[in-house]
């Protein structure tokens, strides 16, 4: 949006009650809580035909994220784990305001992200970046690596000189593990392997020195060995640069390897959250227990009990009454059909939403 210098931007007039960019730059992290998500709700309306929309009494929604509350701490890797359609990606996208929440609050350093004005949002995006799943489709094949990594700097008008820009790009590429960076600067994506492309994506995200990176299945399309390199890189960047990662994955074993805390999602709700080792060693929710039991392990002699759930995740349009997991739950009782379970505190940071947990 181009504005003449000195005159207030048009949008400012329309965005009363929104968060001003200055508030964002002066905001600080309190008590290590980078994000405080309260009752987040992201519903997508279903397009209905003319006749149905006349007859239907209520509008239908895909309830992708249905009242989710959690916190993201500064400098941690928080893993959002769940099957496809559980709302983990939508949650991650909502944190960056790539989806507009239909309800609830996302507080970033205490400021409500859903009330960010356009300019604030632009400033916010310098601080919050995303890495996508498929490094083959998420970077422009016609740009050189330098252009890809430099683009965020150009868009945000960050560098005062070409030299500074080049320095920052080289630094980001080096940190992403493509060494020496100068060898890669003028190559094109098709000359790189899948792992190297994902490193370029990571360099593109870290070049802005963000506070938080949402990594949406960053290793799902990579080979094992390369996958582990990328995971290592994420841990390194967390430790060296203090980047907070929100690691979205369907693979609980990978979350277990690198994350500090795990949040297990099912059908738009977090069913269990806590310190990674605690959740994996001592799962409380029947869904988490089942998920952990079916993770294959590279040891043929380990005979383990598999809890294989029947059927598939229900349609997020018609969410089951009471506990949304009860139709598939091996431990369900009659009351589960009625009561929507509240979070039960287990120990420390460990919470699970199941009425059968004894306190």
């Amino acid at each position: 949006m181009a504005t003449v210098e000195g005159t207030p931007a048009k949008t400012d007039l329309y965005e009363k009650g929104k968060v001003h960019p200055d508030d964002l730059s002066s905001a600080t992290v309190k008590d290590d809580v980078l994000f405080d998500i309260r009752d987040l709700e992201v519903y997508f309306p279903i397009q209905q035909g003319f006749f149905k929309s006349m007859v239907a009494t209520e509008k239908k929604y895909v309830k992708a994220v249905d009242h989710v509350s959690f916190q993201v701490r500064q400098g941690e890797i928080l893993a959002l784990v769940g099957e496809s359609g559980c709302g983990k990606t939508t949650t991650g996208r909502a944190l960056l305001r790539l989806e507009d929440p239909t309800g609830g609050h996302i507080l970033y350093k205490g400021l409500p992200v859903e009330k960010f004005a356009t300019k604030t949002l632009r400033a916010y995006r310098k601080k919050a970046q995303i890495i996508f799943q498929d490094p083959y489709n998420s970077i422009n094949p016609k740009q050189t690596i330098f252009d890809i990594v430099a683009e965020p700097l150009e868009v945000n008008n960050i560098c005062s000189s070409e030299r500074e820009k080049e320095e920052r790009v080289v630094k980001a590429i080096n940190e992403a593990g493509l060494r020496p960076a100068t060898e890669y600067l003028y190559r094109y994506p098709h000359e790189l392997s899948g792992g190297q492309r994902q490193r370029v994506c990571i360099a593109g995200a870290t070049v802005l020195e963000p506070d938080v990176i949402v990594a949406d299945e960053p290793v799902a399309s990579l080979d094992v060995s390369i996958r582990n390199d990328i995971l290592k890189l994420m841990v390194e960047e967390k430790e060296k640069l203090g980047v907070t990662y929100i690691f979205i994955t369907h693979d609980l074993s990978l979350a277990w390897v690198i994350s500090d805390r795990i949040a297990v999602m099912y059908l738009g709700r977090i069913v269990e959250i806590g310190e990674t080792e605690e959740v994996v060693a001592n799962p409380q929710h029947p869904y988490t227990k089942a998920l952990i039991s079916v993770i294959p392990v590279p040891d043929p002699l380990a005979k383990r009990e598999h809890v294989i759930l029947k059927g598939e995740t229900p349609n997020p349009v018609d969410i089951p009454s009471g506990c949304r997991f009860h139709p598939r739950c091996p431990e369900a009782i009659e009351a589960c059909k009625e009561i929507d379970p509240p979070d039960v505190h287990i120990t420390g940071d460990h919470y699970a939403a199941c009425i059968r947990i004894e306190k």
Binding site: V224, N228, L254, V257, P296, P300, L301, E312
Partner: protein, 339 residues
Amino acid sequence: MSVAKTKAPEKKPAERVPHKGILEVRELTTYFKLGVGDVKAVQGVSFDLEPGESLGLAGESGCGKTTAALSILKLLPENGRIVSGDVLFEGRNLAKRTEYGMSRIRWKEISIIFQGAMNALNPVKETGKQIAEPIQLHEGLSEGKAMVRVKELYDLVGISQKRVMDFPHQLSGGMRQRAMIAMALACNPKLVIGDEPTTALDVMVQAQILELIERLRRELDLSFILISHDLSVMAETCDKGVIMYAGEVVESGTTADIFNKATHPYTRQLIKAFPNIHEKREMVSSIKGDPPNLVNPPAGCGFCPRCDVRIAICETEHPEMIEVEAGHFVRCVHAEKGV
């Protein structure tokens, strides 16, 4: 399937050769023709399979595991060819069979579950009718009669019979994979090859599909070849395993041999790359470097540049397969003959 189009040549009694088990692959070598030269995708791969047994073919992408499996069925793309070696299926050498001869074997005796169920199914044809196709061709049944069998198959793989007339896009990912399994079982084959049958699926659906395959294997007494990049899946489902690297078998044996007595440095490093959630939490390791270019494979051991225990001889001399224990083979100069 081109059965209807190919003309039947004169019948000759099939030659049978003495063989081990239901399938024996001997020194199979498959090349792909490219502009720069031949890509030596599979070089001298041997393994065998007893009736009712399950075998896992594992390795990183590009190691030749899928090519080896496609060579068994001679389903290679146009630029691929079997250069040498034998594929003995119940004594019949498939490597020397004609296209017509193969069309009698495919699906009737050996079938394959492809990786991406969405891409492997025809999007504009009802799923049930697609499954009926091989039954009609091989058993000469009408579509109506074949559909009766399809409904039985749907029961067998756990999809509701009501869904037979659904198009692939109406089924979920797990159901599509089940439909692919139903298709593979349509003509009661003896051997089923699963090419990464669970790769694109969620963990829970993966567990369901693996359990289904396991149950069907027991009930129908099938032999099964699982192609997977995921060693953990192989450890859980297979009796025997073959680890491939750069077109060659580097280690083979029972899964217990491979995972608990891994001898080849590549196997050892590959196993460490998979997290074991029941052990102490540690960072998974990765294997440095890249696999060699298969247009000009190195003279020595293919894994040598990435190996942590390499010695001078590894660079020049190609290691032989050594039997370290009965049935446990390793291609490494460090391996000591135990039998």
